[in-house]
């Protein structure tokens, strides 16, 4: 049974929990049994931490279930200890699906087969942070000059060495 780590006030907020129950149920049905985290960010934005293996399925489920989804953007960041990919959705309320990756396994499936508009964001993260998106059709550089070989500009010095060459 999946256990949840809540912010206390969130646990008492029925509306928030109703909106996020589908995530809880999805992960439970997929047999995920470890603890995961939810937070309420300012401006009522919901934030959920989901393991890498469940991200693609969860987003697919969301697109099939909700008729009014919108992907605002995908943020990639190097927190110093690990890499983080944040999928910011708008479903009538803000929802951020967060997943964490280690420097050695910086790879996750592309969601562009489900949401075509995700490919630009994934290309940007891929070239600036060195995260590989599997099944991303166009891997060419979007912002960096062709032939760029000086590493990933948004990687911090800490963690794995910032050296792609």
């Amino acid at each position: 049974m999946a256990s949840w780590s809540y912010q206390k006030e969130l646990f008492e907020n029925e509306v928030v929990m109703t909106e996020l129950n589908w995530i809880k149920n999805y992960l439970k049905n997929k047999g995920y049994s470890d603890a995961f985290e939810i937070k309420l960010l300012p401006e009522q934005e919901k934030w959920v931490l989901v393991p890498v293996a469940y991200v693609y399925g969860l987003i697919e489920e969301m697109v099939n279930k909700s008729p009014t989804w919108h992907l605002s953007t995908i943020t990639g960041q190097d927190t110093g200890g690990f890499l983080e990919v944040l999928y910011h959705f708008w479903l009538g309320y803000g929802l951020t699906i967060c997943t964490r990756l280690s420097y050695t396994e910086a790879m996750l499936p592309s969601i562009s087969p489900i949401i075509a508009g995700a490919s630009f964001y994934e290309r940007e993260i891929s070239e600036l942070l060195g995260i590989t998106f599997r099944n991303l059709q166009d891997n060419s550089l979007l912002f960096l000059p062709n032939g760029w070989n000086k590493g990933w500009p948004l990687r911090k010095k800490t963690g794995e060495p910032n050296d792609q060459t």
Binding site: P42, E43, A116
Partner: protein, 360 residues
Amino acid sequence: MTKLNIPIGPNHPLLKEPLSILLSVEGERILEGSLKLGYVHRGIEQLCQERTYTQAIHLIERVCGICSHVHSTNYCQTVEALLNLEIPPRAKYIRALLCELERVHSHLLWLGVLAKNIGLDTVFMYTWRDREIVLDLLEEISGGRVSHAVNVIGGIKIDLEQQLMDTIFRQLAILTPKLEVILSLFENDPSVRLRTQGVGILTKQEVLQQCVVGPVARASGVDFDMRRDIPRVPYNLIDLKIITHTDGDVWARSLVRIREALESLRLVKQILERIPDGNIAVRAKRRIPEGEAVSRLEAPRGELFYYIRSDGSDKPARLKIRTPTIPALSLLLDQLRGVNIADAPVILSGIDLCIACADR
């Protein structure tokens, strides 16, 4: 027939900003294209992470040369959310007033560019002449035509005197009928309709799949506007009408933008009528508590998105900006596929791209 590759940009007379498009053409028909950005990439996200929250405001204003105020407003709003700081209502009204004037100026600028590209040079001159009225107002309010530098964390730097408000009312009365004439021209003129109807059609499904926002999405029947969807002061207190259309072509986009500009003038009037008295700013702490915040605001081109992560210091640990041009660009190549090459400039200008915004 021979296949030809035509490179457009990064420096090209057709483009106002640097963007590289490689079109593969057979005869007059475009087969496919590829896109390259980054020619005006200034690394603003990274640069802001090396500056304090207050210093970053000036840099943020330079993301876009047209909608600079909405960028700094959204940035300040995100930092204020992290601080859990409630700014005075008067500051919110003044911020919204400038946002709406900026929308009118942005839409008129775009309308002039489109008119020029479809061969209506007279309309181009009229719209840019009328746009000066808005720019003069913005200059009188803030001291700057496009970079206003009025936002601070915790409120706003400038106040509106009664005399200035009267001037705005007077100028609105002059501008509104001028815009109505242009609207009726776009609605009825046969040559405008011939040149724009059925060109660059985007279906509702395509718009939703590519996550396109703003007037482009609303012209394809997607009723999505952050001014209404996130109820904030003053938009939740005034009568706001969202303009949509179902045709999804360049003509529909023109009508949506002109009607939106007229609606913005109506909103400016309402804001001025209801603006409350009081302070315009509150004091904000220099150090921002640890946390993350997301903020969405309706810029002239659509939903503008900011994400900030704070590590408890006086500098942001991560700042992410997603401007509305980025999703629109991802659709550009789909729109160009299969069309006549003469329609490419009309389609390009129909989207209202801002490459400086997209590159950051």
